[in-house]
């Protein structure tokens, strides 16, 4: 059922130079501009960035669920060596579930409100494996048990609104891992949840990942979640990747002024009454991204070359890169 045999050296998911254009009333804008990253089985890669920087667009392109107003205009999305962007719709649909799977932020809208959750959880087994309804529902109960829903057999007959937010998110995760995907994309899976529930969900994801040896792409805007839950990080800004590397390296020695600004402005070890080092300004509108460096309007290091020339993402150390002309000048104090 999987497209090609497992190769330990090749990333389970390999995205290269992905570009997505958006048709808006005032013209076409580029929402994702040359995004590349790779994730191996058993590892978690975080896509980190502020609202509107293109994280969800990237994820939706990978799973082939983009809105009709958006279109992939370049790049490759390789899963086990096959470029899924070249597959037909029908071929792609076969990958969703057994190979690639996604968990969305909003569990209430992602579940069907008028169908018992047991039926919904059994669906992937009926569609992809041709199970009978009874057998599919058995699988659903097994999954509900796995994600810690109490009294699963009874609760399988309940509807989504009868579950708490945290339980609904666990149901979605159960549905996403039902067919043992190689790659799981989680788009802000805990943003709407409380910290104690968030920690519970993140632990569940981590356990499932270890148990099933999945590659996980975790989309978030929470620096602390990245620090605690991811191995590698891709920092996005205005549709582009500005920095990537292992979380440990990037967070201890950021090589892009934007990453450094973000890390500095977290109030975690700030002293009360002393101002936080804030990044001035705000992210650019997609229709007005500057032609040189995307961060130039807010960068403390900006100079003439930054306005003229867009810095390419270049290697700044063993297996890490940054898109800044002057990244060598950064020293975190």
């Amino acid at each position: 059922m999987k497209p090609s045999p497992f190769d330990p050296d090749r990333p389970a998911l390999d995205v290269e130079g992905l570009c997505v254009d958006l048709r808006t009333p005032s013209g076409t804008v580029r929402a994702v501009d040359g995004v590349s990253f790779g994730v191996h089985r058993g590892r978690t890669l975080a896509l980190l960035g502020e609202s509107g920087c293109g994280k969800s667009m990237t994820a939706l392109s990978v799973v082939g669920l983009l809105d009709p107003v958006a279109e992939v205009t370049g790049g490759a999305v390789r899963v086990g060596g096959t470029d899924t962007l070249r597959l037909s719709r029908a071929e792609r649909r076969k990958l969703a579930g057994p190979v690639l799977s996604i968990v969305f932020q909003d569990a209430l809208t992602a579940l069907n409100p008028v169908q018992p959750v047991g039926r919904q959880l059994g669906e992937p087994f009926r569609i992809h494996r041709g199970f009978s309804r009874r057998r599919a529902e058995e699988e659903a109960v097994r999954l509900m048990t796995r994600v810690g829903i109490p009294e699963p057999r009874l609760r399988a007959r309940a509807y989504p609104h009868q579950f708490s937010g945290g339980m609904r998110q666990r149901l979605l995760i159960a549905m996403a891992v039902a067919l043992d995907p190689d790659v799981l994309i989680a788009d802000e899976p805990t943003t709407a949840l409380d910290v104690t529930v968030q920690a519970q969900i993140m632990r569940l994801l981590r356990d499932l990942q270890t148990e099933r040896d999945m590659a996980v792409v975790l989309i978030t805007h929470d620096l602390a979640v990245v620090a605690q839950r991811a191995d590698d990080v891709v920092v996005m800004y205005a549709g582009t990747v500005v920095e990537n590397g292992t979380v440990r390296e990037v967070f201890s020695h950021p090589r892009h002024p934007y990453t450094k600004g973000l890390l500095d402005s977290v109030p975690e070890d700030a002293v009360r009454g002393r101002p936080l080092p804030a990044v001035p300004g705000s992210p650019p509108d997609l229709s007005a991204v500057p032609s040189g460096c995307v961060f130039q309007d807010r960068c403390p290091l900006v100079r003439e070359r930054c306005v003229r020339e867009r810095p390419p993402l270049r290697s700044v150390g063993a297996s890490r890169s940054a898109a800044c002309h002057f990244s060598e000048e950064l020293h975190r104090v």
Binding site: E50, S51, S164, G165, G166, M167, L193, D194, V195, T196, V197, Q198, A199, Q200, R203, H221, D222, L223, A224, V225, A227, Q228, R229, V247, R248, F251, S252, Y258, G261, L262, L263, S265, V266, P267, E268, A270, R272, G273, P275, L276, P277, A278, V279, P280, S282, P283, R298
Partner: protein, 368 residues
Amino acid sequence: MSETPATETSATGTPAPGTSATGTSVPGRRFDGRADAPPLLEVAGVTKTFGHGRRRLTALDGVDLRLRGGETLGLVGESGCGKSTLARVLLGLERPDAGTVRFDGTDPFTLRGKALLAWRRRVQMVFQDPFASLNARMSAADLIGEPWRTHRDVVPTAQARERRVRELLSLVGLRESDAHRYPDEFSGGQRQRIGIARALALDPDLIVCDEPVSALDLSVQAQVLNVLSELRERLGVSYVFISHDLSVVRYVADRVTVMYLGKVVEHGRTEDVFDRPLHPYTAALMSAAPVLDASRAAEDAEIRLRGEIPSPYDIPSGCRFRTRCWQAEDRCADLAPPAVSRADAGDPGRPGQPHAALCHFPLAGEQS
């Protein structure tokens, strides 16, 4: 009523100027950091339920708090524990079923007419969502000056109003030229600043901030937090600050109140509550909050709560946290837990600065 520990704010070292940033003195404003001064805000035994007949939900259950002039009280707790309901009670938008609110010695719910109007100016609110809370068809200047239409005597002449709008814009870090722009021409952080300028237009003594930075972009959040703390320094404004982001609360608050299912379960100085929680729920909350530490040490120290948050229609007997507490014993189901303070946990704590919680078996010291 007295079973809930009262939240007492303490003296801070912040000098509290008696004048606003514009140099005009603000009569009637209290800058009493002294421990013996009467509090600016005193909430006692406030209870609020919603619903009809037997299907009633208890959103607030005997809440007590106290806040002194010029101080910031952080309010934390899980979604649905009653934080926004309490905020609405403080603003006089929601009448409690029982209990009292005293602002500068007066119960706002007894006020009528002119006196009520005069009180309303002293307590203002900054909302979470800077997109939804501003009328898109009004310019920044109109939005900031709108409260003066109701409170006509605050800034009486058109000329003075124009000047005051400019002052307020610069106070929150916007440009004078921004006065004639509309909300959709501003970024989220800038809109939130307009919301703050608007709250300041009436020279309030207290600003209730309900998740003021949660809807903001990461890199913009710090800008708004800086504006809020600068206003406190310059104008001596007090804040009640609601946030689910514990690192933000730790940074802004002098004192912290922790709520669980409508009840205050712990309060004290921010450092005490964060570093040496007494209540198991507080300890779990603090340990679950992700921190910027890539070493993963925090995850090992995490306290894992069992079960789900109980329904507010059906609050557990005895201690309401018992269905999720790892320390729960029979007594926790039978008896409402007493108010205990640091001394009960075998720690003298700081005299005159109570740090208290509701628990039969309070935690002793450092977070595990």
